[in-house]
Symmetry: C3
Subunit: 153 residues, 3 copies
């Protein structure tokens, strides 16, 4: 089953990939590695989740933000590769979660990103992962994902 069909089964679809906010590229390729610019939970040009977990945002809202940012990651990969056939594997996912002091539950938020990748990519999801807590993010985004992928070059 294709990535898009699996997303549809989950009630999800890939958005138009967000545009860069400056003179840089959304994706940079180096041999068989793709480096994606940081992705935040933007939908149709609007930030869907602003603020910090533990203050303006609940864990559940941050988990939804993680799904939206993951969809933006997938949308950029699809746009760059013209589909998912040449995607070999997600190599690394860094998750940066905007959190109040004393909130240490970032892992259960990032699991929504990892689980979505596994659900739609299967074995190609197999990433190393790092989760960070940050006291704020640019644009006041709830979280940011920084992804490296391996492709058939």
């Amino acid at each position: 089953m294709s990535v898009e069909m699996k997303l549809r089964e989950l009630g999800l679809e890939l958005p138009i990939p967000p545009r860069p906010l400056g003179t840089y590229n959304p994706v940079s390729q180096a041999g068989s590695l793709l480096f994606l610019s940081g992705q935040i939970p933007i939908v149709n040009g609007e930030l869907a989740f602003a603020g910090r977990v533990g203050a303006e945002l609940t864990v559940e809202m941050a988990q939804q933000a993680a799904i939206l940012a993951t969809l933006n990651v997938l949308a950029h990969i699809r746009a760059h590769l013209d589909g998912f056939d040449r995607l070999e594997e997600i190599v690394r996912v860094e998750g940066h979660i905007s959190s109040t002091d004393g909130f240490h539950g970032q892992v259960e938020i990032m699991n929504f990103s990892s689980n979505l990748l596994v659900a739609v990519l299967g074995e190609r999801a197999g990433h190393a992962r790092t989760v960070f807590s940050v006291n704020q993010l640019p644009e006041n985004a709830a979280l940011m994902l920084v992804v490296i992928a391996r492709i058939r070059a």
Copy 2:
């Protein structure tokens, strides 16, 4: 002398590599590059150093935490490569130190990680490095190391 023998000379030994906290891999390989998931000072499944330098933790405690996290890095490399023969070089080490506002001595903490790598890997330790201060980390860990290594693929 082997890496394990050098560790023993220093009174150290490699732990069982910590298990991932979600649906991701501890190590992801892309050609000759190994991307390791973030490593914290976990020993036998328990976080050995929680809190922030400048508050609950002294610089000396954070230096011990850096050693433990570095041992976890080495343990994952050994597990993935079934030894250290195929390790060519540590390419990059990012250190994220949980610190109070106004504490700027993160470099002298990370030097314990770099020095340990040099002591046991010799020229193969030769990494680029980046040190960050963070106001907290997931699980309230004292620090986190994010490592890329180069191997004979």
Copy 3:
């Protein structure tokens, strides 16, 4: 026109590349990838901009800090490659901006780094980018750049 000539046109010149602060390398090469250690706005061994945007530093000062750190990035690439001929592309730039709570204008600071890269490297500047807000940096630096470049190996 050479990179140095373009810099001169902008009234800029490359500094002596800052020395590492521990037992690590300023640049680590893995095949055709260069991983640079984090660069801060150091000039002649002195930190030119300390503190946080929104407190001790204005946006304009942080933009100058971004230019100085970018020059240090270029200086290390030139030193490692003995010029810029073998530089193929800047693959990724991570910008970490030391900021007060509630300041979310990090993007307009990092654009000074991206714009300088485009001005002097042209198409070879084409990087993926990620911008972070941090509540402080080691040595109390105003910002830090972490760069990966692709070279002709």
